[in-house]
């Protein structure tokens, strides 16, 4: 499976920079960043949902495997959220003239980063593994409840310069042709990459746990 994902990502890169045209109403080549920025933001959200799901499963089953899976999801979510922030900032600099504008979408991603970081700080502040798993799971579930406010309410209540997401407020997909194909391909490719990385790190965690080195 990994070979397929790597080849797919390479094809996406080629399509993003060569095959796909630039979108109208965007400065220079800046629209091409959508093929990387949106998939990364999507994966950060997906990882967050995954950590919430495994935290909930941990609280119901008391099985520490779910705790480790939640931790891995948070770590990788943090990485992808960081990448989404960086790519978003590059776009903001080109389009709006500043790397950071406190746009509602920027606030949302920052809060997601803070939640992920706080989750990891909480884990490092508890020594007992069972208590750590319990407290981290509760915090992740609590954050899960607050998440709709970041993702759905804040970006819609405040004025935003951010371009429409794939499916905009009018329920229409504005992308067309090669741009849409590249975008969907990139979304699928990065989701595949995340699945690969996630499974790999979960296996690594299980090995570390078996050897008594997992934290």
């Amino acid at each position: 499976m990994s070979i397929v994902v790597y080849v797919w990502i390479l094809l996406c890169l080629a399509a993003a920079f060569v095959w796909s045209p630039t979108a109208a109403h965007f400065i220079g080549q800046s629209s091409r960043i959508v093929f990387f920025h949106v998939p990364m933001a999507w994966i950060a959200t997906l990882a967050f949902l995954l950590s919430g799901w495994h935290s909930l499963r941990y609280l119901n089953t008391r099985n520490l495997t779910h705790d480790r899976k939640a931790k891995v999801a948070v770590r990788q979510g943090l990485l992808f959220a960081l990448l989404a922030t960086v790519t978003g900032s590059i776009f903001a600099k080109v389009m709006w003239g500043a790397f950071w504008n406190w746009d509602p979408r920027e606030i949302s991603i920052t809060m997601l980063l803070f939640i992920y970081a706080a989750y990891l700080v909480l884990r490092s502040a508890v020594d007992d593994p069972v208590r750590r798993a319990h407290l981290a799971a509760v915090y992740a579930c609590f954050a899960f409840v607050a998440m709709p406010f970041f993702v759905f309410i804040i970006p819609r209540v405040y004025f935003s310069l951010h371009p429409d997401t794939l499916l905009n407020a009018r329920g229409k997909i504005e992308m067309q042709g090669r741009i849409l194909a590249t975008f969907l391909g990139s979304l699928a490719g990065f989701t595949g990459l995340f699945t690969l990385l996630y499974r790999l790190e979960c296996r690594l965690e299980e090995i570390l746990y078996a050897e008594g080195e997992s934290a």
């Binding site: 609280l59 606030i107 809060m111 803070f114 939640i115 970081a117 706080a118 700080v121 909480l122 502040a125 508890v126 020594d127 069972v130 208590r131 319990h134 407290l135 799971a137 509760v138 915090y139 579930c141 609590f142 954050a143 409840v145 607050a146 406010f149 970041f150 309410i153 804040i154 209540v157 405040y158």
Partner: protein, 231 residues
């Protein structure tokens, strides 16, 4: 104990009275939270004063300052309800004596009273010192009350979490801030509107957001607290 109370409410009331009496003896939480609020208020008043802000920007700037003061004030005192139980090793007894929901509701009630008292002192003082003239007083104070309600609910559960972890003092704002951000942003924006906007057409939607946040946090806290308490 009044007989009309159900067993749960009776437990909640007993726990609240226990905390209240302990607080009246030591006055640690009230003194520290109030003094912190006053020091911050003095610092803000001294550093920017009422006349350095352009009149047009005053509602937005002062609302943001007020929200920040209330947030950091809550961070100094709200964690104490659970931390003191763990530090004085009375948490185990409490676990045996009362059901988890009663403990959470009792502590929440105490924190709500604490924040209500502090807000009642800080907000009028802030308005007085900063020459903050409010157009719709009822809406302004209603928004503050709802915001403090949501903030206190979320902070009380986080307080229970950090009471069982190391580096409690630093952990409380770190864990609380991202979860409180939606309510802080919304409060800051709404206070500015209540202070300056002549019409109140925005109010129902705003109250809906604050109420739904507080409601969701309350339900989640009630459902999750037992897991924290018995961890």
């Amino acid at each position: 104990m009044p007989t009309v109370f159900t067993p749960l409410l009776s437990e909640v009331w007993t726990l609240f009275r226990k905390d209240w009496r302990a607080e009246l003896r030591s006055k640690v939480a009230v003194n520290s939270i109030l003094l912190f609020a006053l020091v911050t208020l003095a610092l803000v008043s001294y550093s920017i004063g009422p006349y350095r802000i352009p009149a047009g920007e005053k509602p937005a700037v002062l609302s943001a300052w007020l929200t920040i003061i209330l947030f950091f004030t809550s961070m100094t005192g709200l964690s104490r309800v659970f931390v003191k139980e763990e530090e004085s090793r009375t948490a185990e007894t409490l676990r045996l004596a009362a059901r988890p929901e009663a403990v959470f509701l009792g502590k929440l009630l105490f924190n709500l009273c604490l924040m209500a008292g502090v807000t009642a002192v800080v907000v009028p003082l802030f308005c007085l010192l900063m020459e903050f003239h409010i157009m719709h007083g009822c809406s302004f104070y209603g928004i503050i009350a709802l915001a403090m309600f949501g903030l206190t609910i979320a902070s009380t559960l986080i307080a229970a979490i950090i009471s069982k972890a190391g580096m409690k003092g630093a952990l409380f704002p770190i864990l609380s801030f991202p979860l409180l951000m939606p309510i802080l942003l919304e409060t800051s924006l709404l206070l500015a509107k209540a202070a300056a906007y002549p019409d109140l057409g925005w109010l129902p939607e705003a109250l809906g957001i604050l109420t739904s946040y507080a409601g969701l946090m309350f339900i989640a806290s009630i459902l999750l607290f037992e897991r924290v308490w018995n961890a």
